[in-house]
Amino acid sequence: MNNYIVQLIVIALGSSLISNVVLSQFLGLCPFLGVSKRVKTAAGMGGAVIFVITLASLVAGLLYEFVLEPLGITFLKTIVFILVIAALVQFVELFLKKYLKSLYKALGVFLPLITTNCAVLGVAINNVNLEYDLLTGVVNGFATSVGFAIAIIILAGIREKIEFNDIPKPFQGMPIVLVTAGLMAIAFCGFAGLI
C-alpha cells in the first residue's frame, strides 16, 4: 500500500514537472502559445484543462479496461478515445452552462479548444502504453494537467512583463514567445534530478 502511494507520488511529480507535458513532450502547444497573453486567461485555460484531462483519463481508462481489452480490440483505442473525449467536452460544456454558470463564464470559451488538444489524447494513450491501472492513470492525468497549468501561467506572467519591452522587429510576436518557452524548457530540465 505504502509502496503504491509512493509510486503514485513519483508518477505525479514526473508528469507535472520532469517530463512536463508542454515543455518536454510538446503536447498542447497551440493553446499554450495562444492563450498565454494574460495571466487571467491563462489561469482560466489551465483550470479548464485540469478539469477535462482528469475526467477524460478517467473515462478513457474505464473504457479501455472494461470494453476494449476484454474484447481484444485494443487497436481501436485511437478512434474510441477521440470520440469519447470530444463527446465528453461537449457534455461538460452543456453541464456547466446549466448548473455552474459562473464556472462556464470563466472557462467556457476554452472548452472547444481543448477537444483537439494533443495533450488530452496524449495522456490517454500514455496511460495505455505505460500500462497504468485506473487510479494511476487518473493521477497521471491530473498531474499532467497541473503541469500544463503551471507552464502556461508562468509563460503568461513572463509575457505580460515583456509586453512593452524593446524587442527587435523580426522577433516581435510569436518568435519571442518561443524563445521564452525554450528558456523555460531549459529551466524545467533542472527538475530532472528530483527523483
Binding site: 515543455l23 503536447l27 495562444g34 478512434i79 470559451v109 483537439t116 512593452f164 516581435q172 518568435p175
Partner: protein, 413 residues
C-alpha cells in the same frame, strides 16, 4: 490535371503548412530530433492526409452538416490506426522512435483543417492531390528542420556521421580541409592566424546537444518564425499579398475562428464568447462597420500589431530631432491679424517658436501672393536649423520677457 498539379504546388510552396501556415506545431517540434524521424513522420502524415481527403471528398455529399466534425474525426482516426499498425509491423524502428506521435496525427490541425476547408467542398482527385501536396510540404519542412537540428545537435546527417562516411569525425574532416587551403606552417602571418582561428574556434565545434532536446526545438522554431516575419514585412512593403503567412492558426485562441480546431462537435447554438464576434450583416451601413472591425480584429489586428503601429506613429512623428525647420526671421510689427498676431522680437530664435505653424501658412501665402510680402517690405531670411538646436537656444527668461511684451501688445483681449 492542371488543377491537381496546382494543388501540389500550393501545398509544397505557396501554402506550406509549416513554413507559411504555421499549423501542426506539436509534431514538428517533437519529432524533428533527427532527419529520418522527420521524414518518417512527414510521410505518415502525408499518407493519412491524402487518404482521408479522398474519403471525405467522396462522402462529402452524404455526411450531414451538423455531425460533420465527428464524422471527419472518425475517418481520420481510422486511417491513423491503419498507418500505425502498418508501421508497427513493417518499420518497427520508426514506430519506436515516433512513439505516441503517430497516434497524435489524429489531432493534427493540418488534417482536420484541410478536410474542413478543401476536401469537403471539392471533388475527389483535386482533394487527393491537395492532401499529397500538403503532406509533401509538411514532409519537406520536417526533414529540413530535422536536418538542422540533427546536424547541430549530434553532428550527424541522416544518421551518418563523419566516422561512418569518411573515417573521421566531422570536425576533424573540417580541420583537414582548412589545413589544405590555409597551411598552418605558412610563412605569411595572416594565413597562420586565420588557420588558427578557423581551427580552434570554428572547426573544433562539438555538437550542441541542446538542439536535440526540447529547448532547441523552441529556439529553432523561433528563428524560423522570425525569418517569416521578415519575409512578411518585406512582402507587405512590396505590396504582395501576405495574408496567408502565419494565418493557419493565428495564435489568437480567444478569437479563434479556425473551423477545424475549435468547433464543437454538434454545432449547438451561439457560443457565448466574451470576445468580439463578427456581427450578422444588417441593413444599415453602421452595423457593418463593426463587423469589419471585428473581422479585422480576429484576423490581424491583434495586440502585437496595435502596439507596433502606435509605437511608430507616436514615436516617429513627434521625434522632431531630425526634422528641419524653415526659420524665418521677420521684422517686428507684423500686424497681419492672423496667426502672426504677436508682436515679435527681432530675435530670430524666439520668432521661430511662435511662427512655427504660421510659417508654413506664410510660405503658402507667399507662393500665392508673392507681391503682398514684397509690398510689406519684410525681409525673410530662410535659415534651416534643426528644431533641437532651436529649442536649446530658447531661454526661459526670454520667453517670460516675450510673454510680458505680448500682454501689452495683444489688442484682442
Amino acid at each position: 490535371m492542371k488543377q491537381c498539379l496546382e494543388r501540389l504546388y500550393n501545398g509544397i510552396i505557396k501554402e506550406n503548412p509549416t513554413f507559411v501556415l504555421m499549423l501542426g506545431m506539436c509534431p514538428t517540434l517533437a519529432v524533428t530530433t533527427s532527419a529520418i524521424n522527420g521524414l518518417g513522420m512527414g510521410l505518415s502524415t502525408m499518407v493519412v492526409l491524402a487518404l482521408s481527403n479522398l474519403m471525405i471528398s467522396a462522402l462529402r455529399k452524404i455526411i450531414p452538416d451538423k455531425v460533420r466534425i465527428p464524422a471527419y474525426i472518425v475517418i481520420i482516426a481510422t486511417f491513423v490506426t491503419l498507418v500505425e499498425l502498418l508501421l508497427h509491423a513493417y518499420v518497427p524502428v520508426l514506430h519506436e522512435s515516433l512513439g505516441i506521435y503517430i497516434s497524435l496525427i489524429v489531432v493534427n490541425c493540418i488534417i482536420l483543417g484541410r478536410a474542413e476547408s478543401y476536401a469537403s467542398k471539392n471533388k475527389m482527385m483535386p482533394s487527393l492531390f491537395d492532401g499529397i501536396g500538403m503532406g509533401l510540404g509538411f514532409t519537406i519542412a520536417l526533414t529540413i528542420i530535422g536536418l538542422v537540428r540533427e546536424f547541430l545537435g549530434a553532428g550527424t546527417v541522416f544518421g551518418f556521421s563523419g566516422p561512418d562516411l569518411y573515417g573521421a569525425p566531422l570536425p576533424e574532416l573540417l580541420i583537414g580541409l582548412i589545413n589544405r587551403w590555409l597551411d598552418p606552417n605558412s610563412l605569411s602571418e595572416s594565413v597562420r592566424f586565420w588557420n588558427r582561428v578557423l581551427t580552434d574556434e570554428i572547426a573544433s565545434f562539438g555538437p550542441m546537444s541542446i538542439m536535440i532536446m526540447a529547448p532547441g526545438a523552441f529556439f529553432i522554431l523561433a528563428i524560423l518564425t522570425s525569418v517569416q516575419n521578415v519575409v512578411k514585412e518585406k512582402g507587405k512593403k512590396n505590396g504582395k499579398d501576405v495574408s496567408k503567412i502565419q494565418s493557419g492558426c493565428n495564435s489568437d485562441c480567444m478569437n479563434c475562428k479556425d473551423s477545424g480546431c475549435s468547433k464543437s462537435l454538434t454545432e449547438t447554438e451561439e457560443k457565448e464568447s466574451l470576445q468580439p464576434v463578427a456581427a450578422e450583416p444588417e441593413d444599415t451601413v453602421k452595423v457593418s462597420g463593426s463587423k469589419d472591425a471585428a473581422d479585422k480584429e480576429a484576423k490581424e489586428h491583434c495586440d502585437n500589431e496595435a502596439i507596433e503601429q502606435c509605437d511608430n506613429e507616436a514615436g516617429e512623428h513627434c521625434d522632431n530631432e531630425e526634422k528641419e525647420v524653415n526659420v524665418e526671421v521677420k521684422e517686428p510689427a507684423d500686424t497681419d491679424g492672423d496667426n502672426e498676431a504677436i508682436a515679435t522680437d527681432a530675435d530670430a530664435e524666439i520668432t521661430v517658436h511662435i511662427d512655427n505653424a504660421g510659417k508654413k501658412e506664410n510660405t503658402t501665402k507667399e507662393e500665392q501672393t508673392g507681391k503682398k510680402d514684397k509690398a510689406e517690405g519684410t525681409d525673410k531670411k530662410k535659415h534651416k536649423k534643426t528644431l533641437l538646436e532651436v529649442t536649446q537656444e530658447i531661454d526661459i527668461v526670454e520667453l517670460e520677457e516675450l510673454l510680458g511684451e505680448e500682454e501689452e501688445g495683444n489688442a484682442d483681449e
